[in-house]
Amino acid sequence: MAMIENRRKKSLIALSMVAPFVITFTLFFLYPVVEMVRLSFTDAPLIGPGNWVGFDNYVKLITDRLFITSLKNNGYFILLTVVPTTIIALMIALAVNRLKGGMQALVMTLFFLPYVLPVSVVTEIWAWMLDFQFGVLQPLISLISGKPVAVFKNPYWVMPTVAVVTIWWTNGFNVLLFIAGLRNIPKELYEAAALDGATSFQRFRRVTWPLLWPVTALVLTLQLILQLKIFDQIYLLSQGGPFNSSYVLLLKVYREAFQLNHGGYSSAVATVLFVLIAGVSVLQFQLLRIRRG
């Protein structure tokens, strides 16, 4: 009897400890998600109820050219960012890891600094630097392409440029993750490898890389989720143009809901994005784990 009581008491304590999380999660995540899915089956405006229309919104999505374009652009942006940003972060981390003491702290801070800035500041900085009329980076662009380019108004330049801005902005965090991962690798392994006469490339290939793989998988997955949700930079730098060449799913969600008062339809797009993020990231993480095994 006493045991049972004890167990009940324990579970009560446990419950009270997880309750704050469960409540917040339900209220601010689960409920909105359920609402979003429900709305996606209605013709609701931005605010207020709508009529049940079944799968109409989803059927409309398939024929919506702009939706297909957004989907493609999201894919393109992922290609441009996820793997490059991971490789760059790894290289920076390896380099920073060789530095010592104060110098290392300083360099780490410098790489992390952009991550602290709000997106509006980041986009403003780059918009100024790349301004067609007065931008300080235009001479550099002229070197590459022979003439100044209005990067955010050129269908070929816009996505790669937004990718560069995004990588510059967010990479500090990935560097930090990699450095943490590097520090977790026991020094003895390197010493043993050195004793066995392993070259530095062999040490990287046989010690660092396998032991760093979990962190790499994490960074890749986090980046995938983050970059699928691309919105702010596009909204502030190119508004989806020119010719919709930088139109992405979240911009579509925003425009449909807030500009056109289509709450239901916009929820359908959001639901697709949600499923896409959940599906793709789980899939990728599993694949990366298999490879590791």
Partner: protein, 424 residues
């Protein structure tokens, strides 16, 4: 929080003066920044000083989609303002969303106004099914600014230093060519790399051909497509000849004119105070003027819109009774003091002000006031107007087209495809 505020309010009022108990506090939202904002704040201060019994507390919010979204969401929960500024071109979506409350004849009487006091175009843009949903405050349009000093020695300036002899597109392009030949790098400036500037010039050129952007629920139907293509073709031509700046953002486009690098500027009347102020402080360095845009494509027409006052429809919480009367009194006072607003470049929609001697003495405002008769408002649809999909199309399709990325015909097709589906 609200209770606390009320409590504080009442105690403060109770402590200061008893008669103030009857005071009406009007919550006012606008989206007016820059010179517009300064002038509107001065008007609000002026009103507050004259009316101890009605006090306006104003908040300025971000222009465009953010403003209209904020109105939409706050009104839904009854936390909207008592009165707000609204673009008439945005009224169709406002009506669809149900955020505008009808301004009745009685309201107008309380404001000391009547519909007949206003120019026809803005009243029409504020009226749906015979009901008025906003009180127009101004007409703002784009005009043709010119640098008289730069045109010296050309046939386009009369003995008084005023622009002359530009009646057709050929005349205008002749002047641009003359300027280019005489060493001016960018003879004509407008915002070529932004939505607003591109849309306004495009729409003006379309309307000057008698074109309709949307008719019978169709985007650019029939020969309107050809007219739209011609408008884009004209803008492309200016670009190709190097007459107009490449990808100029708004500020850069204004700077080109104020620094004397462009002799012509197509831009809104709202920049008039900029050049007036620069001139007054002796920083402009040249004589300038502004006229209604000549009928370049055949007939006179100019893109225009209006700022208006509207009362949000908040269901049970929509203001009524004494508060509503007070708000209408505010609107009436603003209309009658619109001469101060005219100094921001706008043409007052309230005719008694525009017809006053004081207004007629204002330059260049009085010169371009003629455009009120040719004001072409955006079509009354959900996809046109400020911060609408039509503006998106301007930056997304028309602007790249005039920079040579796409033929005018293809651009028109893409505009049709893009907007037609959103019209529903």
């Amino acid at each position: 929080m609200k209770y606390l505020k009320t409590l504080l309010m009442t105690s403060v009022i109770g402590l200061t003066a008893l008669p103030a108990l009857a005071q009406q506090n009007i919550v006012w939202w606008d989206f007016l920044s820059g010179g517009d904002g300064v002038r509107m704040k001065a008007l609000i201060d002026g009103f507050n000083k004259e009316h101890p019994d009605i006090q306006i507390s104003g908040t300025t919010l971000e222009w465009g989609v953010p403003f209209y979204t904020k109105v939409r969401t706050s009104v839904a929960v009854g936390e909207g303002p008592d009165v707000m500024t609204y673009h008439l071109s945005r009224a169709p979506l406002g009506l669809e969303e149900g955020v505008l409350s009808e301004i009745t004849d009685e309201d107008m009487k309380n404001a000391g106004l009547s519909r007949g006091d206003f120019f026809e175009a803005p009243i029409k843009a504020a009226t749906y099914d015979g009901k008025l949903y906003a009180v127009p405050f101004d007409i703002h349009a784009i005009i043709l600014y010119y640098n008289a000093d730069a045109l010296k020695g050309s046939p386009y300036l009369d003995d008084n230093g005023k622009l002359t002899g530009i009646k057709t597109l050929a005349d205008f392009e002749g002047a641009l060519k003359w300027l280019k030949d005489n060493g001016m790098e960018t003879p004509l400036t407008y915002q070529t790399g932004g939505d607003g500037g591109v849309w306004r010039v495009f729409y003006t050129l379309l309307k000057q051909q008698g074109g309709e952007f949307i008719a019978d629920g169709q985007v650019l139907p029939g020969d309107n497509a050809a007219k739209a293509a011609k408008a884009i073709q004209t803008m492309t031509h200016w670009q190709e000849e190097g007459w107009a700046p490449q990808q100029a953002e708004y500020e850069a486009s204004v700077a080109l004119f104020s620094s004397g690098k462009s002799a012509f500027q197509l831009n809104g009347v709202w920049e008039v105070p900029t050049f007036n102020d620069l001139e007054a402080s002796g920083k402009l360095g040249f004589k300038w003027g502004a006229v209604e845009i000549p009928p370049l494509m055949g007939q006179p027409a100019t893109w225009a819109d209006s700022h208006a006052f509207a009362i949000p429809n908040q269901g049970d919480k929509t203001i009524s009774g004494e508060k509503r009367k007070a708000v209408m009194e505010v609107i009436g006072w603003m209309e009658k003091h619109a001469i101060k607003w005219a100094s921001a470049g706008h043409i007052p929609a309230y005719k008694p002000v525009t017809e006053s001697d004081e207004y007629k003495g204002m330059e260049p405002n009085a010169t371009y006031a003629s455009l009120a008769a040719h004001a072409a408002y955006d079509p009354q649809t959900r996809v046109t107007g400020v911060a609408s999909p039509a503006y998106d199309a301007a930056i997304n399709i028309i602007s790249p087209a005039i920079h040579g990325y796409m033929s005018p015909e293809d651009a028109v097709t893409q505009i049709q495809e893009e907007l037609q589906g959103q019209l529903k």
